[in-house]
């Protein structure tokens, strides 16, 4: 089968799930990458190293920033005079949206957020989590091309082969832009939650450190938020040590401790790191829905009956304000060896 893989990137840097999609495509037959933007030389080189046989590139100043309608119409150009059996996307914010639009433009269906993919002859069947991961649905396309988005970290990232090269095919930018990108405001620096290998998350319990004395002049609510923010700084120290990201429960976000962008759970981000530390998080079902596919879950909570312990491999019943700093030191000593 001929597969076209959309390489999602931000300012020329590919999101890792794009290479995972290339890895999946390799198991199906020939693979072409598809990338839009400006300054894509490094990306093109990486695409060959990760295994594409060919890359279709639309380089144009108008494509510098992702714009849904313009990108969708450029994507359609890749189908003029060429035929692709399968069109793969990483399930990123851009990948999901473009896949949805491509399905309309190409008059086919779209299978979103696959966690497994199986080929039976030319027919692909995927499983995808529904009901926030409580159900696994098996779905297939009833139309062609088969358009599928693959969940990040659900498929292995291929090993790159430095020095590989292949065919570069230029395609023209599409038309029909409906938006203007005025700029970006970046998130609080650091590793993106959805790509993180390690996540250290905090809950409502982060505000309960009795040994902290808030600055004078804060009212009770401000003092609570201040206390919690000191707690999140403590989590960030451990996350930084492990090259990870800091997350939060809905309770912590709703209480105003940290921004919504950090929320893990059913109405936040779905994450699946190698290690998930739940600190002061009781484990409401909505939170569990967002992190249950983590490989290893470690829970630190003062309440021995907290539901989070049912999902955790290792647990500590105790004061997180003592355990987390001690754990950071203990991990640091061992990793330094």
């Amino acid at each position: 089968m001929n597969t076209l893989v959309y390489i999602d990137h931000f300012k020329g840097e590919a999101l890792p799930a794009s290479w995972e999609a290339v890895g999946v495509a390799k198991t199906l037959g020939t693979v072409a990458g598809l990338a839009f933007g400006a300054g894509l030389e490094a990306l093109t080189k990486s695409a060959f190293e990760y295994g594409v046989d060919e890359i279709l590139v639309a380089e144009d100043a108008a494509l510098t920033d992702y714009r849904a309608e313009l990108y969708a119409s450029t994507l359609k150009q890749a189908f003029s005079g060429r035929n692709w059996d399968v069109l793969l996307f990483p399930t990123t914010s851009r990948g999901r949206e473009l896949a949805a639009m491509a399905a309309i433009d190409l008059n086919s269906g779209v299978l979103v957020d696959a966690v497994t993919l199986e080929a039976n002859g030319d027919k692909l069947t995927i499983t995808r989590p529904t009901y926030s991961g409580k159900v696994l649905a098996k779905v297939t396309s009833a139309s062609k091309p088969q358009i599928i988005t693959l969940r990040g970290r659900a498929f292995p990232k291929p090993v790159p082969h430095p020095g590989e090269s292949g065919i570069v095919t230029k395609i023209a930018a599409g038309s029909g832009a409906l938006t203007v990108v005025e700029g970006y405001s970046t998130a609080e620096g650091g590793v993106s939650l959805t790509d993180a290998n390690v996540i250290v998350s905090g809950g409502r319990g982060l505000s309960e450190n009795p040994s902290l004395q808030p600055p004078t002049g804060l009212d009770a609510k401000q003092a609570e938020v201040w206390r919690a923010q000191q707690g999140f700084i403590m989590l960030k120290e451990m996350a930084d040590l492990l090259g990870g990201a800091v997350g939060a429960s809905r309770a912590a976000v709703d209480a105003g401790y940290v921004p919504y962008a950090m929320q893990v759970g059913q109405t936040g981000k779905l994450v699946s790191p190698n290690i998930y530390f739940a600190c002061g998080i009781s484990g409401a079902i909505q939170h569990l829905a967002g992190m249950r596919s983590s490989k290893l879950i470690v829970a630190i909570n003062k309440d021995p009956d907290a539901p989070i312990f049912k999902l955790a491999r290792y647990g500590v019943v105790g004061d997180l304000f003592q355990i987390v700093p001690a754990l950071t030191v203990a991990l640091q000593q061992r990793l330094a060896k």
Partner: protein, 256 residues
């Protein structure tokens, strides 16, 4: 301004979902408005309060769709419209996008169509972008801040890397993420009004489209495997000792 909010009824987030006879079921758990759609209604109401106009809630589905519509009315939507037809049985999410786009077209003069980012049952998250594509309108998805100035729209979108600030002309489709602000609770008066409201229904023939053919095929459903973990509680004489035991266990997993 003429505003619409597209809503759906879903099982409550705390419902226990079990697959029975190949279909997800949720026992006695109530259906509620899809939590993301509450943000869509909230956002439409805020815009109406700032600029004047009307908010119409639309839902595609049988009797259950009225739960989401009544909630939207109770929050303050001016009216509601249910799309109901026996031929809905085989319709997939892309079909729903097609129906909503046709309804928005048929209503005429709509300035903005609001959607939640995804429904918490099917979790596709494709309907807003597809409806926009079908309408030929800009899709401003994952919006966290919205500003309307005359016919101009400026939106901050929550993306992996932070926020992308995008502007466009009305009419447009917007999908909402959570940081738009907490949705209001229905007021007592709102609930009373919603309970008395007559909700009109449209069928495919009234919209003027045939039932969209399914583009994907559902083969089966199964319960997600239960994680078989036994939690090993790490203990020690003091926090340092606990931390050292825990660090050894974690590193022993070879995941770092």
């Amino acid at each position: 301004m003429k505003l619409v909010a597209c809503v759906k009824s879903t099982p409550d987030t705390i419902a226990t979902i079990k697959v029975e006879n190949g279909k997800p079921t949720w026992g006695e758990a109530p259906l509620v408005i899809n939590p993301w759609d509450e943000y869509a209604v909230e956002s439409a109401l805020q815009l109406k309060e700032a600029n004047g106009g009307t908010v119409t809630a639309i839902s595609v589905g049988g009797e259950e769709a009225r739960i989401a519509l009544k909630h939207a009315l109770a929050m303050g939507a001016d009216d509601a419209l249910q799309i109901s037809d026996p031929a809905l049985a085989g319709v997939d999410p892309q079909g729903v996008a097609r129906i909503l786009a046709a309804v928005i077209q048929k209503l005429g003069g709509v300035d903005l169509a609001f959607f939640g980012r995804q429904s918490i049952d099917n979790d596709s998250g494709t309907t807003p972008a597809q409806a926009a594509r079908l309408l030929g309108w800009p899709a401003l998805t994952l919006a966290s801040v919205i500003k309307v100035d005359g016919a101009n729209l400026r939106v901050e979108r929550a993306i992996e890397e932070g926020r992308q600030i995008v502007s466009a002309k009305l009419p447009a489709v917007i999908s909402l993420v959570k940081d738009i602000g907490e949705p209001r609770y229905p007021s007592f008066m709102g609930i009373r009004r919603a309970s008395k409201a007559e909700i009109p229904t449209w069928s495919f023939s009234q919209i003027g489209i045939p039932a969209p053919a399914p583009m994907i095929e559902y083969i089966s459903n199964e319960d997600a495997p239960v994680r078989e973990v036994v939690c090993e509680l790490i203990t020690g004489a003091n926090p340092q000792e606990i931390a050292e035991h825990l660090a050894d266990k974690i590193l022993g997993e070879k995941l770092l």
